[in-house]
Subunit: 227 residues, 2 copies
């Protein structure tokens, strides 16, 4: 399996990644091809599609063994489901599947690149394949989604002072709020006192959660060079 | 990349495969797990989903080199598009992506198995991953599908005498008509005289095509042991 591209995103770590694609529509990524695949011809016609599939490597979980059952975060973390009934990364083959919106196709300094939104991948995640989204075969709005269906309107209220938020460039603010309201905590942790740290777009964001309210406590520039 | 399962289908060859999943809803397959993965726990909860994703290996195209551009059959076979703008098998990594309907989960003589419909895979195709279909992240009915969008209502009229059709067991007839009406020919071939041969469910089916009419000429049992 060859690495075709990587995706550059504002999330250097696993912590803070949306749990599925599309959950944070403002979260963008840039797909940059490996030297061998930097051929604009290979993308001819892709600009006509509004969405694309990305098949990628769960590169942040490569040393974990797969388990026949996993505990989906949205079931509270104490109910076990079969791994093939979930999108958990702890699977026999470390393949992730994401549907993202195609925002732009352009030629950058490293050849052709795709700008996408609604991503759920960490920075530098390897990508194995890109396919167009075909609604006639891929879209099933009435599909039944078992135990996963009842947990989509879950979200936290996010509170952050104007002073703190002013540190983050305006173009990143909506994505940051989206990430936080999706509740990045492991679902089995419910400690009001605990301070969590998130790396995003070159900042360290510290926050606490009490009930359904997330409060941002501190935002500082990080040294990491992101995106 | 490990082979997790194979899918047993009624199509031993590449010829006749629907060009996408879901195009022939009556076409069924049986997903049988490799010994290492025959654990019913790994499927716990999957029965609540109406559709599942299959990420599989384009095993019938393993010796073909990938090409930056391909000629989509529905564009008539003479227009080249970028491989990443198509679902062509001739890609850098031989990964297929199919959305199929989950008809049944059961324990067979080879452990747990999934019966699915709307398949587009040849018999014994290796499968790398199975994931539940989540409409909230996977379903985008209004997605724009570029050049691929205008070719979904293409189909042939299929003519076959009752005498010929009576050879095929009733449960296979709708799938056979579905396969034929989807026009299995390579799109650059338009020779009224040519007799095509399709292997399906233990039968050899011979047919010709003139304009938009496909005529079945012969149906004979094959020696191959299918499904």
């Amino acid at each position: 399996m060859k690495k075709i591209t990587v995706i550059r995103t504002d999330l250097p770590d696993k912590f803070g990644l949306p749990r599925q694609s599309g959950l944070v529509p403002e979260l963008r990524g840039r797909i940059v091809f490996e030297p061998e695949y930097r051929n604009p011809d290979a993308l001819r016609g892709i600009e006509g599609f509004s969405h694309i599939w990305i098949i990628w490597q769960f590169s942040r979980n490569m040393n974990s063994k797969w388990s026949p059952t996993v505990r989906p975060p949205r079931l509270g973390g104490d109910t076990r489901m079969g791994v093939f009934a979930t999108r958990s990364p702890f699977r026999p083959n470390p393949l992730g599947l994401s549907c993202v919106k195609l925002e732009a196709v352009r030629i950058g300094k490293d050849g052709p690149e795709l700008e996408v939104s609604g991503i759920d991948m960490a920075d530098n995640t390897p990508i194995y394949d890109i396919k167009p989204y075909l609604p006639y075969t891929d879209s099933h709005p009435d599909a039944l989604s078992g135990f996963a269906g009842d947990y989509t309107d879950y979200g936290l209220q996010v509170s952050a002072s104007d002073e703190l938020i002013s540190i983050v460039p305006p173009e990143h603010r909506k994505a940051l709020f989206g990430i936080l309201s999706n509740d990045p905590r492991p679902s089995y942790q419910h400690d009001d006192e605990r301070i969590y740290g998130l790396s995003f777009a070159g900042f360290n964001i510290k926050f606490t959660v009490s009930g359904s309210l997330l409060t941002v406590r501190e935002i500082t520039p990080s040294d990491e060079n992101v995106k």
